[in-house]
Amino acid sequence: MSTSQKPVLDVRDLNISYSQGDERPTVVHGVSFTVEPGEVVALVGESGSGKTSTAQAVIGLLAENGRVESGSILLNGEDISRWSARRLRSIRGAVVSLVPQDPGSSLNPVLTIGAQVREILEIHGRLDRREADRKVIELLANVGLSQPELRIRQYPHELSGGMKQRVLIAIAIALRPALIIADEPTSALDVTVQRRILDLIDDLRREHGTSVLLVTHDLGVAADRSDRIIVLQGGRIQEQGRTVDVLASPQSAYTRKLLSDAPSLAAAKPRPPVEPGRPAALTISNLVQDFSLPTAKNFRAVDNISFSVARGTTHAVVGESGSGKTTTIRSIAGFQKPTSGEIRIGDLDVASLRSEALRQFRRKVQLVYQNPWASLDPRQTVQAIVEEPLLNFDPLPRAEREARVRAIIERVGLPATVLSRLPHALSGGQRQRVAIARALVLEPEVVVLDEAVSALDVTVQAQILDLLAELQRDLGLTYVFVSHDLAVVRQIADTVSVLHNGRQVDYGTVEDVFSSASTAYTRELIDAIPGQKFPRAELSRQP
């Protein structure tokens, strides 16, 4: 790319504010950057960093209460920030287009795929109907959809998430725009699908010479896919530069923190190997779980899974959506009866337990959910939430109960002042700490963590992972850690089970599975971890 060419996008001193009641807080402060022709620029940041607002402003799609306060947005040299809605419409889709975040809700459920792809041609073009139909089929074939003639008559609900994202990409490239804004294009997709979609965007970009503004929270994705990186925090640019340079020698402290907290990029401290001969805290043998469907055939969600977890270690259960990982841990936590097989915790067989025995068993196994917004009762104070498990068992005197709540809250790193608050007054990380405190207050032997850090920002995620490791060390806890994120797994687990379509396709120590996966599927999962182009990832993998 030559520097003499004028940039496709030139954002200068952009300020964006949102009206909230009678206040108008500014969320983007003096952001300036350029995107050169054919270049991929990544806007990286955590929630609240202003990355999405910035991208929305570029395509003129700010929410109704949002407003560009000052600054200019030059698209091919023309400032569009003050354009009328009518004039903006003429460039949307044609000069700058959008690949949205959640393919599941980004297609109109009552229109066919064909109609939705054809719409962008109708709006901007003068193609007649037959020509447009031919073009739609060509576009769908272009983005790698099989049987495009069938697809155009289908409705969105008949397609998988990855296929829907391909349709949306077909719409975005239909008119060969100069710039594509990809707003977290793969964060709602499974990791192997994510890789294929990112590859597709890469290929199409190269083919057409389109520029891409990639908005992402995932530094690994940015590292792999971008030419330049812009790091945003709290609406301000912390750092920008060539991706290689930023990753190799980050200038701002915040970037350094992001890099060290990102599991896919961080130099993983290898966990000390578990000494052999530890007793098993949890043993699962030949677990099978069927679900009855309205149609005659039963659906087998989990098919003959066996593993055992030594006391005081962490076992990861890894898989994509539909792999059976959630079903497995719900059986472990006693929320459903296995169809066959055995789940042993200490000397108890979970499957044999009935009502009161099952209730007593809860003291030994506790579950921490993915989403702390949903797993805490919005009407209870933190005190009540953490105290509740104690009230369910042997009655303790009030003073002792309160002392134990206080102790555990302190243990998970929260100040005692949170005790009187309601969950909505806490941040996401604080909320997850409360959920962990609730799980630990009964002093369980096994804690099942269901994607417990997936909903959190990367720096918060790192803090929670540290906390979990510390608690394990001090209290001798056994973890079953469910995740789709292999990078996190490599960082915190001792042993791992890889599930695929309800079967266990790989099982062993993290070390063994990562270095010599026995199945192609596991290999594909490992290869799909973003951030592998980055040289430091190579370094960190060496012992």
Partner: protein
């Protein structure tokens, strides 16, 4: 009780948050600008009507039942601010003294619907299975008969009168309450925090009391307010048709019916009581809306 606690909680936390955000002067301004005038007016209307119902003599010196001879069909004036009816009775006094009939009827009707309906819904949503199936079919049957026809069927059975009209309206409210309560219980039951409560060793009764009921109640309370307004409308309709309180009771629907014969000469006789009904129902709906919004 629980719901009231949580209501207070919700309101106190939100005000505490917003006041800590900005300095005092801007606070006064923003309170003035963001003050929910409509909502305050709605509460004011309900409070006033409630006072009419409890201490009507404070608001008017006229007798609602005894007319002034020769003072029939007088237009509104300083003496009779809403004029007089065909028997020379002060219309404003009749409206004030009528409040107790309309309000008590509506409260009784909503009470019947709330207690019976929520009870059925709670049972259906908690027990599930066959009981749920049977109760919901019963609710379907109640819903399949248009509400006014159901009220009329009950009235033809029980006879005319204030209390019977209230029962008739209350019976039609049962199905709605039952459906809402059941769907709320089922919704909360499926929430992750309820599973977490079972997961930490809670028994069904404890989880119901601590989590399911408090989280279901907000929408039931909001619905109750809507139903109150609706019951006022229904009772006035029955009164208008002549199935409610007998004359000379100053029930609002009946006032409108009596005024109808003098449309050409004394329009205020129908307009005024109707406007009062509209104001009360609008207020109830506005309050319900604010409760529903708070819950989210």
């Amino acid at each position: 009780m629980t719901s009231l606690d949580t209501f207070v909680h919700l309101t106190t936390t939100t005000t505490a948050e917003s006041s800590s955000r900005s300095d005092n002067r801007r606070d006064v301004l923003s309170i003035l600008r963001n003050f929910p005038y409509g909502l305050a007016l709605a509460w004011l209307v309900l409070a006033l009507v409630l006072l009419w119902a409890t201490v009507p003599w404070v608001f008017t010196g006229h007798d609602p039942l005894q007319g002034t001879p020769g003072g029939q069909l007088k237009a509104p004036s300083a003496l009779h601010i809403l004029g007089t009816d065909s028997l020379g009775r002060d219309l404003f006094a009749r409206i004030v003294y009528g409040a107790v009939h309309s309000l008590s009827g509506a409260i009784a009707a909503v009470g019947v619907g709330l207690v019976v309906g929520s009870g059925l819904g709670l049972i259906a949503g908690s027990v599930r299975g066959r009981v749920d199936e049977a109760l919901m079919r019963l609710v379907d049957v109640l819903l399949s008969i248009p509400t006014l026809l159901l009220s009329l069927s009950i009235i033809i059975l029980l006879g005319f009168g204030t209390l019977n009209a209230a029962i008739a309206v209350g019976a039609t409210a049962i199905a709605g309450f039952a459906r809402l309560m059941r769907s709320e219980v089922v919704r909360v039951r499926n929430a992750e925090f309820v599973e977490a409560a079972f997961g930490s060793g809670g028994t069904f009764g404890k989880v119901l009391w601590r989590h399911i009921l408090p989280n279901s109640l907000t929408s039931v309370v909001a619905y109750t307010a809507v139903q109150f307004g609706w019951a006022i409308l229904q009772i006035s309709t029955l009164g208008f048709l002549g199935y409610g309180a007998p004359p000379p009771t100053p029930e609002w629907g009946l006032l409108i019916a009596e005024g109808r014969n003098y449309l050409a000469t004394a329009w205020w006789l129908t307009a005024a009581p109707g406007l009062i009904v509209v104001a009360v129902v609008l207020s109830a709906n506005r309050i319900s809306q604010s409760i529903g919004r708070n819950s989210r």
